[in-house]
């Protein structure tokens, strides 16, 4: 019984934390209160469910409990009778049926508010991780490599700006959606990449963050079905995440793409990603996310590493560099050139790219393939100074030993 309660609560937390906070912000207009009352509701659930059993719709129970808690808190703190009135009028009652069915998904409201373009990109992601994904301040601080008090201050500042600057808590009107969606896509992709290649810590993949980003992207594509980049991002994340379990070995060491066990890839996710991608490119408005998804699709559909269509991948990178000339994209293009035209061509392509944390590792690999062992070892050592991820470090150290 006890185990059941803890299991259901953990599942509900993973699935519903964001929805609960989002609903409570809508009802109270107070971000801190919303988070605290949601936390309180989970604590109350642990006690009550053990005594009375698990309710039929855990999320509805938690929503009601969190809302009642908010009403109590507002009353007790006497911060304004008006707030309480607006909370108890029937029109502001949470529509539990709609919440249960997921139709009235408050997460979109929260997502668009967190990702308002008046906030910096890192602020958007930090706040989304806190409110939508339920990460603790300490976890977010670790992700961004800053001390916890610094992150706490940043979160306070972001929430303060939302309140004081009058950033509306709503999904933008249809005419503003096209200009507002790119900021949301950027934040979701950053959330995903943080989950996919955690910049620090023992694990290469933080699966919960990846799932949350994919889930939110899916909700978003429901809102903007005609936006090919939204579908492109969803496809990209599905295709990349499908390889997640094959990216680290049993000992937690990173396994490079060409050495991965392709039967361990999640083929259902690959099929879902390819289906999204087909829907997206049919619109004939190709953008960076679709191009990256097309590249991921080349890898996902290659029967073996040797059979990968590197020439097509280089072509796609050429298109991608034209629209998104970031250091990451240029370094990845150099990798593709190295595979399509040989390691010397790869080195030549790499020479023209801006410096990137991955550059030494890429150079090391190309030098190794050219048989220039001494230079390769030097580059692997430099690469080790550029990452704190333990799985990546283990891989690089392994290369140095051979």
């Amino acid at each position: 019984m006890t185990d059941d309660v803890e299991r259901v609560l953990a599942d509900t937390f993973a699935q519903d934390w964001g929805r609960l906070v989002a609903t409570l912000i809508r009802l109270t207009g107070d971000w801190d209160l919303a988070e605290e009352c949601t936390q309180d509701a989970f604590a109350a659930a642990l006690r009550t469910w053990r005594r009375d059993g698990i309710p039929d719709v855990p999320r509805a129970w938690l929503t009601t409990t969190a809302r009642n808690r908010a009403i109590d808190r507002i009353r007790r703190e006497r911060v304004g009778a008006e707030k309480v009135r607006s909370l108890v009028v029937p029109t502001d009652e949470p529509d539990l049926d709609a919440i249960a069915s997921g139709i009235a998904d408050d997460r979109l409201r929260l997502l668009f508010t967190c990702c308002h373009p008046a906030l910096s990109l890192s602020s958007r992601v930090e706040l989304a991780l806190r409110t939508l994904c339920g990460l603790t301040t300490a976890e977010i601080a670790r992700l961004f490599g800053v001390p916890e008090p610094t992150m706490a201050k940043r979160l306070v500042r972001t929430k303060h700006k939302i309140a004081v600057a009058g950033i509306p808590y709503q999904v933008p009107s249809a005419d503003r959606l096209p200009e507002r969606t790119p900021a949301v896509l950027a934040a979701l992709y950053l959330m995903f990449t943080e989950g996919y290649a955690a910049t620090a810590g023992p694990h290469l993949v933080r699966v919960d963050l990846c799932h949350e980003a994919i889930d939110l992207a899916r909700v978003l594509t429901g809102l903007v079905p005609d936006d090919p980049e939204a579908a492109g991002l969803l496809a990209l994340m599905l295709l990349q995440h499908a390889r997640a379990s094959a990216r680290t070995g049993v000992d937690g060491v990173l396994v490079p793409l060409e050495e991965q066990d392709r039967t361990a890839w999640d083929h259902a996710a690959i099929d879902a990603g390819l289906a999204e991608l087909r829907r997206a490119v049919r619109r004939e408005r190709v953008g960076p996310y679709q191009l990256q998804a097309l590249i991921a699709a080349c890898h996902a559909t290659a029967p073996t590493a040797a059979a990968t269509d590197w020439v097509r991948i280089v072509g796609l990178y050429d298109e991608l560099v034209a629209v998104l000339p970031s250091a990451t994209v240029q370094v990845n293009r150099a990798v593709a050139v190295g595979m399509a035209r040989g390691p010397q061509a790869g080195l030549d392509a790499l020479a023209g790219t801006p410096d990137h944390p991955l550059s030494p590792a890429v150079r090391a690999d190309l030098l190794r393939r050219l048989g220039r062992a001494t230079e390769a070892a030097e580059a692997y050592r430099e690469a080790l100074t550029r990452t704190d991820n333990q799985a990546e470090r283990a891989y690089l150290e392994g290369r140095l030993r051979t």
Partner: protein, 112 residues
């Protein structure tokens, strides 16, 4: 909510653009705001070279010829608008002719 719009631009460029006819779109901008009833205040300023900066130090009034921040980009106008939220204020700011060659800072007004 009330927002202060702090309109600034390269002053030389602003003079050129105004000469080229940016006044027409400025009239459209202000007329629209007046009709919507959102404009609480609006002032246009003389060029920054006419400014005097005042400081009180150790009980003494010190004057400096010129604006407090040197530079080509200078504030040329201020407006206070009353609107629903930041999105509406941003839309108003973006429609100001100076936004096309300078910038508009949107600041929420503190209510006591």
């Amino acid at each position: 909510m009330q927002y202060l719009l702090l309109i600034s631009a390269d002053e030389d460029l602003a003079v050129t653009r105004m000469r080229e006819g940016a006044f027409a779109s400025f009239d459209t901008w202000i007329t629209d705001l007046e009709q919507r009833g959102v404009l609480r205040a609006h002032v246009g300023l003389h060029e920054s070279a006419t400014a005097t900066t005042v400081r009180l130090r150790d009980g003494e009034v010190l004057l400096t010829d010129g604006p407090f921040a040197e530079g080509r980009e200078q504030v040329g106008g201020l407006a206070v608008v009353d609107c629903a939220d930041l999105d509406e204020a941003v839309a108003i700011a973006a429609a100001h002719p100076a936004a096309a060659f300078g910038q508009v800072e949107v600041r929420p007004v503190r209510v006591s």
